[in-house]
């Protein structure tokens, strides 16, 4: 399971949804960013936070971060199916996550599923070793960390 998995159904065509995601200008419009070039597999597209014009509340939250650098290292573009990139989701941190958009036609629309993974990337065997024998003694909050690590597995 990835750290995060969310999805939505958009009542439109696969072509339109795909271009709204894989076109860096369109992506920036809804996400709240501007990029210096197109997305291309194997290359890193640099950009910066620009408050979205789609939602005033979100735009207000993004305003303090206006101009903050945002770079997407594109790792997969499979037309109308999958778009994936790596980025640094947390300001001033080396933490790097992989974001993936998966598209599939569903009913009269398109289901878009986004996953984000790698918030605390660890080789599974090290994580499992670290968690050995952790059945007793956890308090409720430490269990949250355990649950988080299981999601990250």
């Amino acid at each position: 399971m990835p750290d995060i998995e969310r999805s939505i159904v958009i009542r439109s065509t696969l072509d339109r949804v795909w271009s709204a995601i894989v076109d860096s200008t369109a992506f920036g419009t809804w996400f709240g960013a501007e990029f210096d070039g197109p997305f291309a597999v194997g290359s890193t597209t640099s950009g910066r936070i620009v408050p979205t014009r789609m939602d005033a509340e979100v735009a207000a939250a993004q305003e303090p971060h206006r101009g903050a650098p945002l770079t997407a290292e594109v790792i997969a573009i499979e037309p109308k199916t999958r778009f994936a990139f790596r980025w640094h989701p947390l300001a001033d941190s080396e933490v790097q996550t992989t974001v993936e958009f998966a598209l599939a036609e569903e009913g009269d629309g398109v289901r878009v599923t986004i996953t984000e993974d790698g918030f605390a990337a660890l080789p599974a065997e090290q994580r499992d070793a670290a968690r050995d024998g952790n059945d007793g003694g956890w308090d409720a909050q430490t269990r949250l960390l355990a649950a988080y690590l299981e999601r990250a597995a």
């Binding site: 996400f31 903050a68 300001a91």
Partner: protein
């Protein structure tokens, strides 16, 4: 990016190291203990454990107190819990972003001439 996400960056950076993660898990599981004890349980020196504890302490994940001659380390449950809540916030951020994508695409469709 929310302030909470930015504030949690040191927490994730700290947890991203396997030795540090194992220290947090050990303190959460087995309770407070000294750096020497932590070092005895893993293939690293006490000095290395102390460096890791300093990073974890700076991230607010652990704290220490003196007990007699020893310094005993324990986990900060609230900070650990925040790692979990951060993921909930990041999830909520994506929910909002997907909703903007939906509006962007569906409004764009409405603006397109009907090509029959």
């Amino acid at each position: 990016m929310s302030t909470a996400l930015a504030d949690a960056a040191p927490v994730f950076a700290a947890l991203g190291d396997p030795t540090r993660l194992s220290i947090v898990l050990a303190l959460g599981d087995g309770g407070p203990r000294t750096a020497a004890r932590l070092a005895s349980e893993r293939p690293v020196t006490r000095q290395a454990v102390e460096k890791h504890l300093a990073v974890l302490g700076a991230a607010g994940l652990v704290r220490s107190e003196r007990r007699g001659r020893e310094r005993v380390w324990s986990v900060e449950p609230d900070a650990v819990a925040s790692a979990g809540s951060l993921l909930q916030q990041a999830s909520a951020r994506w929910d909002a972003a997907l909703e903007r994508l939906r509006v962007f695409v569906e409004m764009g469709d409405d603006a397109q001439p009907d090509r029959g």
